[in-house]
Subunit: 282 residues, 2 copies
């Protein structure tokens, strides 16, 4: 695996691979890799001749009071993991190279970024859209891989690709979960033993809602109540637990497909998100 | 000259030219072409193997009370002019193809777009940055040509290219003027005989400021006063007449290079802009 730090060098390498007729897969990450990320790389390896992974903890998507400085950065471990799954390139730019002095042009997503996490993390998806656009410009892959754990991010990126005319196929991959159901996340590393136990309630609440929906329950208040009865006693704060259109992310008043149940909550100081899709959407 | 209407088709044509090793020049316009536009095409022809011109009256850069619907669209004439200067491709997309149903991702320029015209045309440069990003994505030229008559637009595009990592060389070309000094503009067509005469004061005011600066005047209030003494009696409203850093467009308190004098005013219902650069900047 070749490590590349400079955006220009990365662009040239990818351009050269493209010129040689190779199909290019790209997996943008913030590092602190877990099985979820690795599943993206494996999927990319299957579908492309070359796979590039980026690791960049993007300052533009963290709020002033968020965990930018303490976000885990286990670089040596990440590199070993990527070697193991046979990534071809690791792009690891500096913040200074991505956002040089005087940087001021941002990509602003629309209504798709306003609900759910967007409501509680102002500017977050602007930061996401901007860095993804910049990474896409450098990589110009044929396919880009994102995990649906970050449901709203996936939809923002899909919209970005459409609206700003990126010639990239978006591949949205399933959530990878721990044996007890907890969605894999780099932020799980923040959880102490007791919090880690309590965090099981997040997926359990969603699974219950999905089960009740599958059994025919169509009343969203009742579905929500049932999920909250599991979740609320275990976590410290529920930021949202919503039923939304799985594609547009608009809040639903009545249950219908495609529908997602999405949750964000705090366990201790750790913010966790998770979702389940009820419909045929991915 | 080949006319192309579909963004995808245009992208493929340009990609194919690029693959053949040809250098690509791109001249984005809103049509109603005049000698200023044609000078851009001629410059592009000199420096590139193939030149594409786009004509697209971009709804996203017009305010709700602005002249979108009455903006001139002399398509047959434009095509003849482009044939004459030997443009290779004319890209003329529909608004529906550029902004399909559900479009919502915009490119937001920063402080560079806030002063001058940005203050009086909220959202204008967001529309410009968005459409230019989209056109660049389709064309992916080696060089793009803009006229410095739209000084702030040139700086917004330069910033966009830097910040969003477009691999494009920006070529900023001089203002082309009528014999009496009026900067060429598609909007000059709105001017009746009497307004056309009065419009001469715009460039005359700027030329006087430039002359006085060249003669050693460094007091901006006096420079501004002298320019306004020519301009104000002739036009119906001066929106701004400012001395700014020619690169960052920050307002200056003291005269220094690189400096631009920029003006926007109404002659009748027609909004005219113009500028002169005092320094070694282009």
């Amino acid at each position: 695996m070749k490590l590349v730090r400079k955006p220009d060098a990365f662009r040239k390498i990818m351009e050269e691979e493209r010129r040689k007729g190779r199909s290019l897969g790209f997996v943008p990450t913030m590092g602190a890799l877990h099985e979820g990320h690795l599943s993206l790389v494996r999927a990319a390896k299957k579908e492309n001749d070359r796979v590039a992974v980026s690791i960049f903890v993007n300052p533009a998507q963290f709020g002033p009071k968020e965990d930018l400085s303490k976000y885990p950065r286990p670089v040596a471990r990440d590199r070993r993991l990527l070697e193991k799954v046979k990534a071809d390139y690791l792009f690891m730019p500096s913040a200074r190279d991505m956002y040089p002095e005087g940087f001021q042009t941002y990509v602003d997503p629309g209504p798709i970024a306003e609900g759910l996490c967007g409501k509680y993390r102002p500017g977050h998806f602007r930061g996401v859209a901007t860095v993804v656009a910049k990474l896409f410009q450098a990589a110009r892959p044929h396919r880009a891989y994102f995990g649906i754990k970050d449901l709203q991010q996936c939809r923002v990126v899909a919209q970005l690709i459409r609206d700003l005319d990126f010639d990239i196929r978006l591949r949205v991959m399933p959530i990878v979960r721990e044996p007890d159901g907890l969605a894999m996340s780099s932020r799980n590393a923040y959880l102490g033993t007791r919090d880690r136990e309590r965090a099981r309630a997040v997926s359990q609440a969603l699974f219950l809602a999905r089960k009740k929906f599958a059994e025919g329950e169509r009343n969203l208040s009742r579905l929500r109540r049932a999920a909250l009865d599991i979740l609320a006693p275990q976590v410290d704060r529920v930021q949202y637990l919503e039923f939304v259109d799985a594609e547009t992310l608009e809040p639903l008043r009545k249950a219908r497909l495609p529908m997602a149940a999405a949750v964000a909550c705090y366990v201790g100081k750790t913010r966790l998100i998770d979702n389940v899709i009820m419909g045929p959407s991915k």
